[in-house]
């Protein structure tokens, strides 16, 4: 009996311990932001379709932060060649890269993404400003006596008498989402800095300022609807008095059912986002590991395809997917730099 026990134990150990040597990779390996994912995959597919001998690159949707972590982990076939990002690389991430031997990185800015606040077409179009959004969604708001109180507003007309007499009900992304980060940074901070007493706080107590500006209320007025923006669109159609926060591409695909609210008087449209008039928009990027250029020449094809006007131009196929193109001159300059793989400088913050 003892013997058979040993046999079983040895078999178990042997079967779980077999190891496979690291295998060569014949496809590009791209990671990063879920916002850039649709654009990155469209380019990857176009590349796989048009160029013979290039397999369609693999694109993993890991989120911007997760992508940076994988990208900066080192050089070699097990590490990604390109990472997508819905914000610029941070100085700390750049340093991690440097420390792990990822020395030369090419930064490519690919376009803009607007964050829209939309509602169902069956009710009227909203006209909001950033201050309204801040007061309606912040966790703590000024109490008028120099201090702060938990957000007391239940209805929109308590925030701003011009707004309708409706319950505050906003469906938005959870904290893990890059869209949420960008919304907090662009809309909430913008709105909170429009209140002079909070703006003054920045100089005296930066930590408090950050907490006040970036905290989103958790009492049910802001509903975390999950990472799935399609779900938010469906819920908006079912509930005409609610507002939803998501990326512009979802508005673009559903213009027959939902409408984007004006923010600071500007409607979210392709033109207003590309000129920067619409206040809640951010730049999208991807980063290339120059050290991989030699072993993966397909990187050059990918960058060339991405930076060609038929892809990222105002009439390109990425515009169909909801990417908002950069101005012509900027696009040209970036394309030139990207195709030469000019390494970026260390970011300032």
């Amino acid at each position: 009996m003892k013997q058979s026990a040993i046999v079983v134990a040895v078999t178990l150990a042997a079967s779980s311990a077999f190891s496979v040597p690291a295998m060569a990779r014949d496809t590009l390996y791209i990671v990063g932001s879920s916002t850039v994912f649709p654009f990155s995959t469209a380019v990857a597919e176009a590349l796989g379709r048009s160029k013979k001998g290039i397999k369609t690159p693999k694109v993993e949707s890991t989120g911007t932060g997760g992508g940076m972590k994988l990208f900066c982990a080192g050089v070699g076939i097990n590490h990604p060649d390109i990472t997508n990002a819905s914000r610029a690389i941070k100085a700390s991430e750049y340093e991690t890269c440097q420390a792990n031997g990822v020395k030369e990185i090419t930064e490519v800015k690919i376009g803009f993404d607007g964050i829209v606040i939309a509602n169902s077409k069956t009710s009227g179009r909203w006209d909001l400003n950033l201050k309204d959004l801040y007061l309606a969604l912040a966790k703590d708001v000024p109490d008028g006596k120099g201090g702060f109180q938990p957000n007391p507003y239940k209805k929109w007309n308590e925030v701003n008498p011009d707004l309708p007499d409706l319950k505050i009900e906003v469906l938005g992304p959870p904290p893990t989402s890059g869209t949420r980060d960008a919304f907090v940074e662009l809309a909430m901070e913008g709105g909170c800095n429009s209140i002079s007493e909070i703006k003054a706080l920045k100089k005296t107590d930066e930590k408090k300022h950050k907490a006040v500006c970036q905290g989103i209320r958790e009492d049910g007025a802001y509903i975390e609807a999950g990472e799935n923006d399609n779900l938010i669109v469906q819920k908006l159609i079912a509930n005409p008095s609610a507002l939803g926060i998501f990326g512009y591409s979802f508005l673009d695909q559903n213009t027959d059912k939902i409408q984007g609210s004006k923010v600071n008087g500007v409607e979210p449209k392709y033109e207003t986002i590309s000129t920067g008039q619409y206040p809640i928009s951010r730049s999208l990027y991807f980063y290339v590991k120059n050290a991989h250029l030699e072993s993966f020449p397909a990187i050059k094809d990918y960058v060339t395809e991405f930076t060609s006007d038929k892809a990222w131009g105002p009439n390109g196929y990425l515009a169909d997917k909801g990417l908002i193109a950069l101005p012509d001159a900027e696009r040209k300059a970036i394309a030139q730099k990207a195709r030469a793989f000019t390494p970026m400088e260390k970011p300032s913050h």
Partner: protein
């Protein structure tokens, strides 16, 4: 009905029969209430399932059809095979998009403006040139003739034909503009547009274009992952169960192991993904995003299920079988493998199939090992990059294009069909082979 007053027996205590009779009505009522509650619970459950299925099927059934446009494509010899060699390479390299565009411009000669021509070309899917290429490769003898070929329409046109785009809305709010509508109506009047069975959905890998996206890649990924999971987890699980149940001494160590196995069965699956990332990818250096790593992680996840089910199956074999075998001189190992194991097998297989069904529907642990990815090529083996069905569903559900809504539901239907088949197999196996004593 008058309740008879409890009769006082000579001893002074109430008659027990009377007490029972008095409470009878109340107890019956209680039973009825319980039955009624149970029936309601089952009914609510069934209703939810019916609603879920109805929603998925209503949303998804249209995905099994796809809009095609019939174009008279002139397969000119000078543009496909200018040297007339008939070489495969030359035919593969030809510009089929140009042929399709020419066919469209022939049909709509009044469209001359460059912008308008671009718009006209965009009603045909970007995958159409590939289809025409395949056609020519299959029929090289037809070069030089004009053939009526059905090519897939773009997803927006598909949505329009399936009624998901409302024509009555103002033009600015529609993704399909008035001019395109006019073209489509003319094509429809000429019988050049039709919905046909959506073969690409079953033979293609995924795509960014809904009309080209298919589940074959994810299905093959699921197949390889599950096959390897089965190969690994069944022998290990059954072996562990036999050892623990039949051979292991009862002491503190085996108690500890038993508690741990039961605990592992309740560990959230994403934890196994983290473990897989650290051990299989980080330490052993296995390739990311492959069925190999996926299967190892899912093996860890399903092992407790299989071990627990197998032990229960072994326990249900009556000791008399073992004693009889030992009595006629069989060794312990012979007793187990010749007598106990065959009798316990149906129960073990049921447990394994349920474990496999669980593994088939799992996404969370695969997130950590890179299987949530856009992979177009259909995997050919255990070390090719792959994704699995539930991951494909998740990725499609998250896509902004409207064409993916129906495809998501269709993919869910395929996944459900497989789950049903597996659970049915488990039930049938039990019916067919189970023995009762």
């Amino acid at each position: 009905m008058n309740k008879p007053a409890p009769q006082i027996t000579p001893t002074g205590r109430p008659n027990p029969v009377d007490i029972v009779r008095a409470s009878l009505k109340r107890r019956y009522a209680r039973e009825r209430r319980f039955r009624w509650l149970g029936a309601t619970a089952v009914l609510i459950g069934l209703l939810c399932v019916v609603l879920l299925f109805a929603d998925i099927i209503l949303k998804g059934y249209t995905a099994f059809q796809q809009t095609y446009i019939r174009l008279p494509i002139a397969l000119e010899a000078e543009s496909i095979d200018p040297e007339g060699t008939g070489a495969r390479a030359a035919i593969e390299d030809a510009d089929y998009l140009a042929l399709i565009r020419n066919a469209l411009f022939e049909l709509f000669p009044e469209v001359r403006d460059r912008q308008e021509r671009r718009l006209l070309t965009s009603i045909v899917s970007v995958g159409a040139p590939n289809l025409v290429r395949e056609y020519v490769l299959a029929h090289p003898d037809r070069i030089g003739t004009t053939q009526e070929i059905w090519v897939p329409a773009t997803a927006d046109i598909d949505m329009l034909m399936k009624g998901h785009i409302n024509r009555d809305l103002p033009e600015a709010e529609r993704r399909v503009k008035d001019q395109t509508l006019g073209w489509i109506d003319r094509l429809a009047a000429e019988g050049r547009i039709a919905k046909r069975f959506n073969t690409p959905f079953f033979v293609n890998g995924t795509s960014r274009e809904p009309e080209l996206a298919g589940i074959a890649g994810a299905l093959m990924g699921s197949f390889y992952t599950l096959l390897l999971t089965l190969i690994l987890s069944f022998p290990i699980g059954v072996g562990a169960a036999i050892y623990l149940e039949e051979f292991a001494p009862r002491n503190r160590w085996t108690d500890l192991i038993e508690i741990n196995i039961n605990n592992l069965a309740a560990v959230p699956s994403i934890v196994f993904g983290l473990l897989g990332l650290a051990v299989f990818i980080g330490f052993f250096g296995m390739p990311r995003s492959t069925p190999l790593v996926g299967a190892l992680v899912l093996t860890l996840m399903t092992l407790p299920t299989i071990i627990i089910a197998s032990r229960a199956a072994l326990k249900s074999v009556p000791p008399s079988i073992r004693e009889a075998a030992l009595g006629v001189g069989a060794s312990s190992l012979q007793t187990q493998f010749h007598h106990v194991l065959p009798l316990a097998m149906p129960g073990m297989l049921t447990g394994t199939i349920i474990g496999m069904a669980q593994a088939l529907g799992e996404t969370a642990p695969l997130l950590m090992i890179g299987m949530i990815a856009f992979i177009v090529d259909i995997p050919q083996g255990f070390t090719d990059m792959a994704t699995v069905l539930p991951v494909q569903i998740y990725l499609w559900a998250d896509s902004p294009e409207r064409g993916f809504v129906e495809r998501t539901s269709a993919a869910i239907m395929v996944l459900l069909a497989f789950l049903f088949a597996m659970n049915l197999a488990a039930v049938l196996l039990r019916r067919r082979f189970e023995r009762r004593w």
